[in-house]
Symmetry: C2
Subunit: 231 residues, 2 copies
Amino acid sequence: MRLVVATCSARYTGRLNAHLPLATRLLVVKADGSVLLHSDGGSYKPLNWMSPPCTLKTTTPDDDAAARGVTQVWTVQHAKSDDRLEIELHDVVHDSEHELGVDPGLIKDGVEAHLQALLAEQILLLGDGHSLVRREYMTAIGPVDILARAPQGGHVAVEIKRRGDIDGVEQLTRYLDLLNRDPLLAPVRGVFAAQEIKPQARVLATDRGIGCLVLDYEAMRGVDDAESRLF
Amino acid sequence: MRLVVATCSARYTGRLNAHLPLATRLLVVKADGSVLLHSDGGSYKPLNWMSPPCTLKTTTPDDDAAARGVTQVWTVQHAKSDDRLEIELHDVVHDSEHELGVDPGLIKDGVEAHLQALLAEQILLLGDGHSLVRREYMTAIGPVDILARAPQGGHVAVEIKRRGDIDGVEQLTRYLDLLNRDPLLAPVRGVFAAQEIKPQARVLATDRGIGCLVLDYEAMRGVDDAESRLF
DNA sequence: AGCTACATTTCGAAG
DNA sequence: CTTCGAAGTGTAGCT
């Protein structure tokens, strides 16, 4: 990994055209050839970058560029597309190289899958008398997150999201259309479950007779821990 | 901006819990306090990070950690949430600080807005005899990208995306339901226009009687340039 | 390889 | 200030 701090300007051409005026920035060249161009703020997203696979070519500036104060020209060309990043470096403040080795990678815990597992265990959150049929109930257009038997007959199809957006309601609607054609399952009611449900999504769901269930992840995990401790 | 290259392990707790085993990585501390933890590959996305506003506190390890080889402990706490990033540094290979100043920011050109403008100018791409009513035609549930008059009466509602996905078809369907209730507009046909239309989206659109139009951005821009040059 | 859904998404614009 | 859609999205999982 090579780290360079320098005043530079940059131009990207590819899926769009973009230009960065002259300023001091951090340039990171990774082992796979990818290049990041970071400013001293913002978020984790670079101002400009080139994703691998790509190749970096460093050249000396032509007379015109040299007259403008350019000392190095970096051309980063993507291997499989016409995407190209051109960087003109002026003053180089820092330049160092480091051997990092392969990274073992990130280990995650606590996403949608976990919510699904917890709700399957705590199926009564749908209301008394409900019982789990199964998680990932397969249909022709994809798996329903949770299918449960309703207390007065019929079933409940549950769509789970971390953030309940309008497209989640659309997805559940498609499942319900299909499931209600099955006489062994019908009538199938829909429940849209999420840690947070957007107002527009709630309106659309209610309008279609779909129930909304806000999930408290911490509380559900607490119940899970308490149950685990009993055994 | 502070740059550190060190062997380290990290733990993130917040919206999820994640853990990074010991390895050599780049740590970037930006002027706004945000921290990025990069490996020597992947993409522009860090393995772990903390977005601003947040504060970094550097402490010395306790005896237990010191025995494991930890020389520094970084605790990055988000200012408005419980998000927290804890980094244990072992061997520090590099550590430098740099003054970068404010960045003028990126100048972009060539996104969906441009596609919309070009299609509005080249409305005959919808077929001979079409004429533009207006861009961003307002409805109760949002603006339709383009509304045009059809040659044999009635209208055409166009939804424009760079990448034509299934949710774009859903969006257009909602507009069409609404627009067709207006006797001054009906019948309103739908056209789904995008640089690239996903197979699933095309199937759904066709099933609903919505036309698909693949837009060639370069060609459309070429026509635009040619027209501009005449004046 | 292609496609789908998720993301600690981030980012920007509009209401 | 929220809300909502786009992104040069990236990424993982599955067919």
